[in-house]
């Protein structure tokens, strides 16, 4: 059977339709929306928690969503070793759910930031980065108010030791994240969270901008390399299916 990806949708999710479009129409893999009240998920080979403002960021980003029925299922799926990817608010939800360590705090500028930047792949052995070349740098936009990754020294040491830092900001630090961290994974590397938005940089039409205001100059030609995140995921699902 062909692989299927589930996209968790919470009240206030707003990148769900964007991810759905990229997976179904650009990558060519079937992906469905799954409403947050669903407490039993069957037949999905991977889950994506998209960006947005689940529950309006009330209390703090991700905390209410982390207690939605669907997250029990996401925890089970993660435990079964299936890939789970959290993007932006999805990363915040994974952290609040205890699936990833550390915390995401308000940007050091104290303002929302939406712009393109560059990230570097620092671990290309995860199901989300396996198709990148080692240390590859690619352009990708960020859009968040609470994206500053923070962790205590013990966690940071562990993250480094176990090669859990997957993506680092490569041209500047848009939010003041510790150690330039843009994305991390769990020890088993099947759960990854990232602040930048790969779904916004997966089609060349979305990065045709000639202006230096938006695209960093050293990456002017291939600004849809972020699509490799989804391509890696799909190729891993296919390999699994063959095995």
């Amino acid at each position: 059977m062909a692989a299927r990806i589930g996209i968790a949708v919470f009240p206030g999710s707003n990148c769900d339709r964007d991810v759905h479009h990229i997976l179904n129409n650009i990558i060519g893999i079937e992906a469905d929306f799954i409403w947050h009240t669903k407490d039993r998920i069957n037949g999905y080979d991977a889950m994506i928690i998209p960006g947005g403002f689940a529950f309006g960021d009330r209390l703090r980003p991700g905390i209410i969503a982390a207690h939605s029925p669907i997250m029990n299922e996401v925890r089970r799926i993660a435990k079964d070793g299936l890939p789970v990817l959290g993007i932006c608010n999805g990363f915040q939800i994974l952290v609040e759910s205890g699936l990833l360590p550390g915390a995401l705090m308000m940007n050091d500028s104290l303002r929302f930031v939406c712009r393109w930047t560059n990230v570097q792949v620092t671990n290309n052995k995860t199901p989300f980065t396996s198709e990148f070349s080692p240390k590859q740098i690619f352009g990708i936009p960020v859009a968040h108010g609470d994206g500053r990754y923070v962790a205590d020294s013990k966690i940071l040491k562990e993250l480094k030791k176990k090669n859990q830092i997957v993506l680092r900001y490569a041209s500047d630090n848009p939010n003041g994240s510790t150690d330039l961290i843009a994305g991390i994974c769990n020890e088993e590397s099947n759960v990854m969270g990232m602040m930048p938005h790969p779904e916004r940089a997966s089609e060349s039409i979305l990065s045709v901008d000639r202006s230096r205001n938006n695209i960093s100059s050293n990456n002017n030609n291939n600004n849809n390399d972020a699509v490799t995140i989804f391509k890696s995921l799909v190729s891993n699902l296919k390999q699994k299916a063959i095995a």
Binding site: G12, N14, D57, C114, A143, I205, N214
Partner: protein, 725 residues
């Protein structure tokens, strides 16, 4: 507070043939406020050209609807939230965004973009010190827009910001929204007797009481209770629920609640449908207890929608609202008669024909040409500064011209993955549509020129809007206008309003582009006095083919052309107003014939694939426009000023005049561009080439200006350094 004038009350009671009770006076007063009734502007608004090949629904509904082919439509609407924003900038601006988004939803379409036109008093004084009050307004308006748009997940893709001392202690916050959807999903608003009326969304509270009436008076004191409280999360839920309900075909009519609250919403909807309503106020879910019938009728609590559904479809709608956890009340039914019957615990508290409530008696206003207009034309020409490079740098740091990166990077401008041309890199924002086409959209205004000559100033804003759209590769397909003035009861103010609307009528008729929506906002004044006349024009264009998409960034080995004829038209220019601190002079005059010719010539070149980038000359003139193209592409240029077609005798006028209908284009194929333009009969010249790292303006064999890109950028990005050191 009496909201009805004596004459209006007399008219109302004459029509009713009885005394109106207090509730009726309040409810009718809200609807008959200038804000909701357009009583001072209606007779002129009818003269706007509203028909065109793309138009499905023109002005009058919540949003205009344009056909973009393949079964798809665009919807567009513009509104302002000036009074509330001047008192509580965060909440005022945020609820402004919320209101215009609900108008788009009301047509059955999904909002895909928001734009803002903002006007403040100067935020920077000589020596780059910020000015506390206007900086506070500016920062919080931006934050209000950002928080709301970002949370709801609709990208804020563009707009414009102008600074002028006439906005001291005040601000103009105009928000436009674009929607996209399928033609078959457009809500046509029809209902039959016994259909069910539902009020959904936020509970009704005492916030925003008399907001519409408050916005229909001059701003004399803080009236915080008239400012509403924003909840973008609830609006997001309403958006998704409405879209799902539209898709499942269970809505016959949608209307958002805005200014004037339930009173306006019910009377306008009932009048539009030609059907009466029977409403029970005690059914409404409220935020506070013991709300009076008056308060329930005129509260402007946010994030509320009125839905009308049929009995068989009610359960589907209920299940959708429940899925999203949205509170709702069934508040009444559609009737065979044409009256608005409002009950409180069964007792009728208001009863009158919907038509009477929805149509205020028009106000007769007197217009008189202000004295200052002629006086301002005659001013002494300032002495040309010896260092024109310094002037250019100063203008690049003028907050009206300087990069707005500090602003647009706080807006999520990419969510929805439609934003193909992003803020800061082009003349207009461009969004992709599902049928392979693109919509190009921009807001423009020029209070400085509209003050000196409201007719030419407004024509100029339209011309600028069209140029911006053209420079993105689009054909203009529609216009929305937002006309903002001080009190219409002042004959000299009212005259400026008539001038502005005449300009829109003349321009749009000539260009054969319809006005598909608009709004009028009067009473924009404080104790300090009236604002300058501030019509804001929203222009929409359609890019038929991806190959036409155009930006402003120059690149290596390109030849630079100017199209248009530069005249010494310095009135209201940033050079006079910001650099010389002079208000006065001759405002740029739009020659409609030339404007159309130049527009067509440039668009033709773009479509032929001969142009690699394009930008229009507007605020700051030719020198600023070309500098922006250089910074955008991180490359310099060397241009010969002698080549430019002009009647200017002084170099400063040539560099900084804001003559309309001018374009700068660059190409790798100068020969073909030259030949094509020659055959089009427009004034143009090839003026130079791109070069690395420096910009040079040469006159004769003398360097008039030579600056490095670094010097330009240091000034152009000044705003972010001032606002967060």
């Amino acid at each position: 507070m009496d909201v009805l004038t004596k004459q209006e009350l007399e008219y109302l009671e004459q029509e009713l043939k009885r005394k109106a009770n207090e509730i009726e006076k309040d409810a009718v007063g809200a609807q008959w406020s200038e804000h909701c009734s357009y009583k001072s502007s209606k007779k002129y608004l009818h003269l706007l050209p509203t028909k065109g090949k793309h138009v499905i629904v023109g002005p009058g509904y919540d949003a205009g609807v344009l056909d973009v082919g393949d079964g798809y439509v665009l919807t567009v609407h513009i509104e302002s939230h000036n009074h509330p924003s001047a008192i509580e900038p965060f909440g005022g601006a945020a609820t402004g965004v919320g209101g215009v988004i609900r108008d788009i939803m009301s047509m059955g379409t999904r909002p895909i973009a928001v734009l803002d036109a903002l006007r403040f008093a100067p935020i920077v004084e000589e020596g780059n010190h910020s000015v506390a009050k206007s900086e506070w307004l500016f920062k919080n308006v931006v934050k209000g827009i950002a928080d709301y748009g970002n949370c709801i997940g609709i990208p804020t893709v563009g707009g414009e910001i102008e600074f002028d001392p006439s906005f001291q202690d005040y601000c103009l916050v105009d928000v436009a929204a674009i929607g996209f959807g399928r033609k078959i999903d457009i809500i046509t608003n029809d209902a039959e007797a016994d259909d069910i009326i539902i009020l959904a969304g936020g509970p009704t509270g005492r916030d925003g009481i008399r907001g519409a009436s408050f916005a229909s008076k001059t701003l004399e004191e803080d009236n915080r209770s008239a400012v509403q409280i924003p909840d973008p999360f609830l609006e997001k839920l309403l958006l998704e629920a409405t879209m799902e309900a539209v898709k499942r075909g269970c809505l016959k009519c949608i209307k958002d609640l805005g200014g004037g609250g339930l009173s306006c919403c019910l009377s306008e909807t009932s009048d539009n449908l030609g059907r009466g309503f029977d409403i029970e106020l005690t059914k409404i879910h409220t935020r506070e207890s013991h709300m009076t019938p008056n308060e329930l009728m005129i509260s402007e609590s946010q994030e509320r929608m009125l839905y009308i559904t049929s009995k068989p479809k009610l359960s589907i709608l209920q299940s959708i609202l429940e899925k999203y956890g949205i509170k709702y009340s069934i508040i009444g039914t559609v009737q065979r008669h044409q009256n608005l019957v409002i009950r409180h615990s069964g007792k009728v508290v208001m009863q009158m024909p919907s038509h009477l409530v929805a149509h205020a008696p028009l106000a007769d206003r007197v217009a008189k040409r202000p004295h200052y207009i002629d006086k301002m034309k005659r001013i002494k020409r300032p002495i040309q500064p010896s260092n024109l490079g310094k002037v250019l740098l100063s203008l690049l740091a003028d907050p009206t011209i300087a990069s707005k990166r500090w602003v647009y990077q706080q807006y999520d401008h990419e969510v929805g993955i439609r934003t193909v041309i992003k803020p800061g890199s082009s003349n207009a924002a461009v969004m992709r549509l599902d049928n392979g086409k693109f919509v190009s959209v921009k807001l423009d205004g020029n209070s400085k020129q509209c003050y000196l000559d409201p007719y030419q100033g407004t024509l100029g804003s339209l011309s600028e809007g069209f140029r911006n759209i053209i420079c993105s590769g689009a054909d203009p397909i529609g216009v929305v206008d937002h006309l903002q003035f001080a009190s219409p009861e002042e004959p000299e103010i009212y005259w400026t309003f008539i001038q502005a609307i005449n300009a829109i009528i003349d321009y749009c008729k000539f260009m054969e582009v319809p006005v598909v929506g608009g709004k009028v906002s009067f009473y924009n004044e404080t104790a300090r006095g009236p604002i300058k006349p501030s019509p804001v024009i929203g222009t929409l264009g359609l890019v038929e083919n991806q190959r036409y998409l155009m930006q402003m960034a120059l690149s290596a080995n390109e030849s630079i052309f100017i199209v248009g004829y530069t005249q010494p038209e310095m009135g209201g220019s940033e050079y006079y107003e910001y650099f010389h601190k002079i208000t006065g002079g001759k405002v740029p005059v739009v020659n409609l014939e030339v404007d159309r010719q130049n527009m067509n010539a440039v668009l033709n070149l773009i479509k032929m694939g001969l142009v690699s980038c394009a930008h229009d000359c507007s605020k700051g003139g030719f020198a600023v426009a070309l500098s922006e193209m250089a910074m955008s592409g991180s490359i310099g240029f060397k241009v010969q000023l002698d080549a430019i077609p002009t009647s200017c005798k002084q170099i400063d006028e040539l560099l900084f005049s804001e003559t309309h209908s001018r374009y700068i284009i660059a190409t790798k194929d100068p020969k073909s561009v030259y030949e094509t333009l020659s055959s089009n009969g427009v004034r143009f010249a090839e003026i130079g080439k791109t070069v690395p790292a420096h910009i040079e303006f040469i006159k004769g064999n003398r360097q008039t200006i030579r600056l490095s890109l670094k010097q330009l950028e240091a000034k152009f990005y000044l705003l972010e350094r001032i606002l967060h050191p």
